[in-house]
Amino acid sequence: MLVQPGVAPPMIAVYDLVKKYGGFTAVDGVSLEVTPGEIHGFLGPNGAGKTTTIRMIAGLLQPTAGRILVNGHDLASSPEAAKASLGFIPDRPFIYEKLTAGEFLRFHGGLYGMDGSGMTDRVNEMLEMFELSRWEHELVESFSHGMKQRLVMTAAFLHRPRAVLVDEPMVGLDPRGARLIKAVFRRMSEHGVAILMSTHTLEVAQEMCDRISIILKGRIIARGTVEELRALAGSDDAQLTPVFLKLTGGSGLQEIDEIV
């Protein structure tokens, strides 16, 4: 069943999210909604608060204030129900190095209540999809970075999540791997999976995202489709990079000239 993005109630909903580290406010009142089938880009310079926001939605960091709903479940009051609908692909994933890919996936599936032959079929299907089938019985420690990244993605999609959080998906992937990931994300979104994706690769965001939120110093400063962002920045550029730089303040080229 294909899903039209933007018409259903949000699968990921974040309201007035705040995270403070002592006196420093890393995330300052962030609100956003990702509907089923939508790929929502989350852009911002380094240290803007992207990863902190995503880690709060994943249930790894406790917000100082605000509300997070996943598939209608409040993460604070029903964390298990909320997390059951969620898949998480971190930027620096942890995988048990001494497990094989198959063992890791079966363990991961078990955490989400998967069991029996259904799980075996699903594991095989996903390994096939991410081109990891022939590595199923190899230890994770022998994997390259790109393979580990694909394995983590396999695990994240294994339990058929309704929403997926992705932090920097393209880091360390070769062009073939990157194309594969893009195709998988598109396919998943067509099947109604809501994807919130933080990335520095603006071409990927431009190519894949239905909507984009730009975060700067912990606040959302702009949101919309690429066209809407272009209009907001008053830019005629076809590429997203100049639009992003305009919105987040300067290219830094002047400073580079001064140093050189």
Partner: protein, 561 residues
């Protein structure tokens, strides 16, 4: 989601199985070495425990009394060790472990996560205690011809006895992680380390076991036992465990203390589970923030490094190494435990009253001095395997910086050597000089020991640095893992051999010289040459070990692919 909590322990079990299936080169040798050493220690402890219990059984009621007291003290020692160890372990298993980032994002019920983590904490914190208790209690049981009931009781007592301090330690960690500013989560280790080290010293001072050796203080022995009994308070689980076991040894059943142990263990587990459900996530979230931990800038270090006669490269390497070491609490907090043991060691020498052996005191003192030299050598080897051997591996994935920088790998390794040599030498030299001073040994031996330590430091630190470079483990999670690797075990074997040979080369000529001097008989020319030759051989052994190890280490680094 409905899987029982042991499911969460599966990765560790599978990983162990995979490790066993896919052995790496050297694993078999390491396994054999550890196995043989472990077996020897097991047999030694079993025999010691058997012998002591056997001897005590000759003294009827007094023997029984001492055995009962001994059990209470044994369990009290383990109680404090377990409580401390579990604070450190729980910090890792509940808050800092890497796999929590995976598990916390999954829909696991907090209670299940607690049970799995608690089981892991119990296992990690207590395996050493249990491994020691087994031969001790077996020795006691065999000496007293105890029936199967004793062994069943021992099992039923040890389980709740281990759970109680681990639950208390975990609760302390939970409170500390939530109460202290989050960025100091790791500093808790330091605090607990200090407390534990101070605790050992204070307890030992309180008991003063040397009083037993003084004939003139015989009337005080009752006071000594009264002191011994003081910490064995009736409200402590160690007392309950000791009493229950002693009763079982006599063929009885102590339901009261056994029941107290089980109800306390279960009660604490339930309470801790509820507390974790309420506060674990907040603590875990704070512990994540500890990545941006508060740190000291250590500007003084740069000032000191500037005045040292070092090249720029070596100065920067030194500053980097020392800063990395001092800012990692988990690294240097282990030094606190070592410091406590060293203090206890020195204290033992201070209270050793050898003057009471009127005719033999001189000889006994000198024998002690040589034992002291050997002990200092073993302390040196232990520190070297833990802190110097992992020096190259500690570069970890960042080693590419060194390899791509325009510096010679020779400079890099020698920098590691000097950084390790200075603290190791200073510590062991101080230890030896102080212990010899407390003993009041012959000045000749004092000088010989001090010089021997200098040469042994060069040899052992060189060996550790060189082998560390030959067998690096850049992917190890911590230095302990590096120390336990094939290279680490090889270093320990070679280091022990080195210490034995070095001590023999210093000890034999020293004894010969002192023996002749005590009798006023001059050494023959042959003996003089033998003495000189032994000392020279000792020095040569150290220098050759040093030179060969460093050369081999530099070569290994240069040939690394």
């Amino acid at each position: 989601m409905g899987q029982p909590f042991p499911y969460l322990l599966l990765p560790s079990i599978w990983a162990s199985r995979n490790r066993a299936r896919r052995r790496q080169p050297g694993d078999l040798v390491r396994g054999l070495l550890f196995g043989v050493v472990g077996l020897l220690v097991f047999v030694a402890v079993l025999w010691g425990s058997f012998w002591l219990t056997w001897q005590l059984s000759k003294y009827a009621e007094l023997g029984d009394y001492l055995l009962r007291l001994g059990l209470a003290w044994l369990f009290l020692t383990f109680l404090s060790f377990l409580a401390f160890s579990s604070v450190v372990t729980a910090l890792s298993t509940f808050f800092l472990s890497e796999d929590l980032k995976l598990l916390m994002a999954t829909p696991i019920a907090p209670r299940r996560l607690f049970h799995a983590r608690f089981a892991r904490t119990i296992g990690q914190a207590s395996w050493m205690v249990v491994a020691f208790l087994v031969p001790v209690l077996a020795g006691v049981g065999i000496a007293r011809c105890a029936g199967p009931q004793f062994y069943v009781t021992a099992l039923l007592i040890v389980v709740p006895f281990v759970v109680i301090p681990v639950a208390a330690g975990t609760a302390a960690t939970l409170v500390l992680v939530n109460v202290f500013p989050a960025r100091r989560a790791r500093d808790i280790l330091m605090l607990m380390g200090l407390l534990f080290a101070a605790g050992i010293v204070v307890v030992l001072r309180m008991i003063q076991p040397e009083r037993l050796l003084r004939v003139e203080s015989l009337p005080d022995i009752t006071g000594f036992f009264a002191d011994l009994q003081a910490p064995a308070a009736v409200l402590l689980p160690s007392f309950w465990a000791g009493e229950a076991l002693f009763t079982s040894l006599q063929g009885g059943r102590d339901w009261l203390h056994g029941g107290a142990l089980w109800t306390t263990a279960l009660g604490l587990t339930v309470l801790l589970g509820a507390a974790c459900e309420r506060w674990h996530f907040a603590g875990f979230s704070k512990a994540q923030e500890a990545r941006k931990a508060r740190f000291t800038r250590l500007r003084w270090l740069e000032g000191i490094a500037r005045v040292l006669p070092l090249s720029d490269v070596r100065r920067h390497l030194l500053i980097k190494d020392v800063k990395v070491f001092l800012r990692d609490v988990s690294q240097w907090s282990q030094l606190l435990l070592l410091l406590a043991l060293v203090l206890v060691y020195l204290y033992n020498f201070q209270v050793l009253d050898l003057e009471r052996v009127p005719y033999m005191s001189g000889i006994v003192k000198n024998v002690y001095a040589l034992i002291n030299l050997g002990m200092a050598g073993f302390v040196m080897a232990t520190i070297a395997v833990r802190f110097v051997f992992p020096a190259v591996s500690s570069e970890g994935p960042a080693f590419w910086i060194i390899r791509t920088a325009p510096i010679a790998l020779r400079d890099f390794l020698w920098s590691k050597f000097w950084t390790g040599l200075v603290p190791v030498f200073l510590l062991t030299e101080t230890l030896t000089v102080l212990a010899n001073e407390f003993l009041g040994i012959d000045p000749f031996l004092k000088v010989a020991s001090a010089v021997a330590i200098l040469f042994m430091s060069l040899g052992l630190v060189g060996l550790a640095t060189g082998l560390g470079a030959r067998y690096p483990r850049f992917n190890a999670e911590n230095p302990t893992q590096v120390a336990g690797s094939y290279g680490g075990v090889m270093f320990m074997v070679l280091a022990v051999l080195f210490v034995i040979v070095a001590c023999a080369l210093v000890g034999w000529p020293s004894s010969l010289y002192l023996w002749h001097r005590a009798r006023g008989v001059p050494l023959s020319t042959f003996q003089q040459w033998s003495v000189a030759l032994c000392f020279a051989a000792g020095a040569a052994l150290s220098l050759v070990t040093w030179w060969w190890s460093m050369r081999s280490g530099v070569r290994a680094l240069e040939e690394m692919e």
